[in-house]
Amino acid sequence: MPLLEIKDLHVEIDGKKILNGLDLVVNKGEVHAIMGPNGSGKSTLAYVLAGKDDYDVTQGEILFEGESVLEMEPDERAAKGVFLAFQYPIEIPGVATMTFLRTALNAQRKARGQAELTTPEFLKRVRESATKLSINQDMLRRGVNVGFSGGEKKRNEILQMALLEPKLAVLDETDSGLDIDALKIVADGVNRLRSPERASIVITHYQRLLDYIVPDIVHVLSRGRIVKTGGKELALELEASGYAQYQDAVAAE
């Protein structure tokens, strides 16, 4: 059974069609890259997987470990193992990062019938992950993402991912706004989570991130559909030739 199976997915927002019959199968152990021009539906796909409620699924199905997630709340999907690293992580003044991390981790554990982590165990895990991502203690004491630079916000997303250990990580343009050092730190964080039991979907506009997170499969998304699928060499090809040919191909239909 695939970890994720998307069948003929049609999605609208405010009556405007964004996804038009998208199909995608992701198996455990795989890293998929989804590339496409602006407006092709990449972020919509990410949000729909996570369960944002502004999006209307008008047709199709999303199965996670064989179970439909369309009727599930975002927190239920998270507890099942779906994680979205946001393109624009949100600032939450007044909620300390540590409180947030602990509440999230324990809520997921509770939903899965696991015991809450003890304070020492929790602190140990946070410290280990934070150190690897160059996140200092001061950042953890502040409100979630408050006063963080763009790069710090993205690293904080990866910290959350490392702690929550999702089965499926969806990274929505995690490379945007990162310099090369930050990009390497983020990529290392994602690579550390690679395992035969997990999978990732890396959404990006540029090929650059894929030098560091090497995908097994690359898809081209255009006008709400996957129009081409290939190996990692497809990303390099896109870098050289651009997206124009795929947009034209759909337009000609």
Partner: protein, 439 residues
């Protein structure tokens, strides 16, 4: 009896009758009381056409005036033993007032630190204490009818003096408990004078039984001399039938630090009035409040902050959470007097609406008569941010828990200004408990 001719509704007539009956038995200050009642009688209960009371129409809200509270019996005193629990387990010197009267047996007047003097107001007034004679009712001149009624009927309260240079380490905790069974009107008045360079923390707790029908009118005259450092916290958790009116009148000297925080977490109708003047230069003040409202609770914070000298900084931050059919009112006026150059004042009032049926009224005002000042105000009203909720839920935090985190964060912004860590934690815990019992 010219004063009676203006009296219109039942409450006003009852107040006049109470006055006739009680005026010769109330402790001391007869001329001050008579002048105050005359001031009240000339205008009567304020109503919606009186601008300062526009959103809290006392003539409509106060159907009747309760009889003056009788001295507490043993049962009422026993019930008050655990009053003031909102402060958590912090070490404080308790001064307990039950149904408006000082109860020595529940209070701690032992081992007063050097420079600290405490006596009950009733005693001070009866004995013409020079401190009350000098300051009571003179700290901030106002025609406000709630203050006038308080001055006319004031029964008991605390008179506290902290001598120049003295530091009072233990917070002073004034506990006002309405714990009798009968309907009653409770008038308490306190006077606190913190002399030059002295330091003290004053906490007021006001609370009462949910089922009791009572009216509280409490006032505090607070003198903060030059270089003094004063923290004032007012915690209000009254019963749902209670009408609670409170007036803080403060006069703050030069180079002082003054922090005041009003926390309201239970109410029928609450009117919190603050009349503050910065008389000396270079003072820094934080004026904050947080209110959590549900049911049909009505909480009105009305504030006048007067910058009367140069180079003072004030920050006003008020947060209100409104659920069900509750109503929150904020009226804040900052006055910068001529010559109060380099005033730096910023006022913010934010309402978080958890229900379609709640109402928040925000009325910030600036009156500036100096030309070299920085003044600003901001007011918002909105519901929980959908993007923030989605972010929290996407991390596995269920809806109700996500809402609770955001509500705590919203008021936490105001609570974080409290300098006492133990009290800060106790109040954050109280917010958590309130959020967890949301229907």
């Amino acid at each position: 009896m010219a004063e009676l001719t203006l009296m219109r509704n039942a409450a006003e007539q009852q107040l006049a009758a109470e006055w006739q009956q009680a005026k010769d038995t109330l402790p001391g200050a007869a001329p001050l009381r008579a002048a105050a009642f005359q001031r009240f009688a000339s205008v009567g209960l304020p109503h919606r056409r009186v601008e300062e009371w526009k959103y809290t129409d006392l003539r409509a809200l106060m159907r009747d005036a309760k009889p003056l509270g009788a001295p507490p019996d043993a049962t009422a005193k026993a019930r008050a033993r655990d009053a003031g629990a909102l402060i958590g387990d912090i070490d404080a010197r308790r001064l307990v007032f039950v149904d408006g009267a000082f109860v020595p047996a529940l209070s701690d007047l032992k081992d007063l630190s050097r420079g600290l003097t405490i006596r009950p107001l009733a005693q001070a007034l009866a004995q013409d204490d020079p401190l009350t004679g000098r300051y009571l009712g003179k700290v901030f001149a106002t025609d406000d009818p709630a203050v006038a009624l308080n001055t006319a009927f004031m029964g008991d309260g605390a008179v506290i003096h902290v001598a120049a240079g003295a530091t009072v380490e233990r917070p002073l905790h004034l506990v006002f408990a309405a714990s009798g069974d009968k309907p009653a009107a409770l008038f308490t008045r306190s006077l606190v004078v913190i002399e030059k360079g002295a330091r003290a923390m004053l906490i007021e707790s006001h609370e009462g039984a949910a089922a009791r029908d009572y009216q509280v009118n409490t006032a505090l005259d607070l003198v903060v001399a030059d270089d003094a450092h004063v923290d004032h916290i007012k915690l209000t958790r009254e019963g749902e039938k209670a009408l609670h009116m409170s007036s803080l009148m403060a006069d703050v000297g030069a180079h002082a630090r003054f922090n005041t925080f009003a926390f309201t977490i239970g109410a029928g109708v609450v009117r919190n009035q603050l009349f503050l003047r910065f008389r000396g230069e270079g003072t820094v003040a934080n004026i904050r409040g947080a209110s959590l409202l549900r049911g049909r609770e009505h909480v009105d914070t009305t504030m006048v902050v007067e910058h009367a000298s140069v180079g003072c900084q004030s920050r006003e931050v008020f947060k209100t959470v409104l659920d069900d059919q509750s109503r929150g009112v904020f009226q804040g006026k900052i006055i910068v007097q001529p010559g109060a150059q380099r005033t730096d004042a910023k006022m913010a009032s934010h309402a978080l609406m958890l229900s379609q049926d709640a109402e928040a009224d925000n009325k910030p005002e600036l009156e500036i008569y100096a030309d070299d000042v920085q003044c600003g105000h901001g007011a918002t009203a909105g519901d929980l941010d959908a993007d923030l909720l989605f972010y929290l839920k996407a991390r596995g935090i269920p809806q109700t828990e996500a809402e609770a985190l955001l509500i705590q964060a919203f008021v936490g912004d105001a609570i974080e200004g409290i300098e006492h860590a133990g009290l800060r934690e106790a109040l954050i815990e109280a917010v958590g408990a309130w959020v967890r019992t949301r229907g």
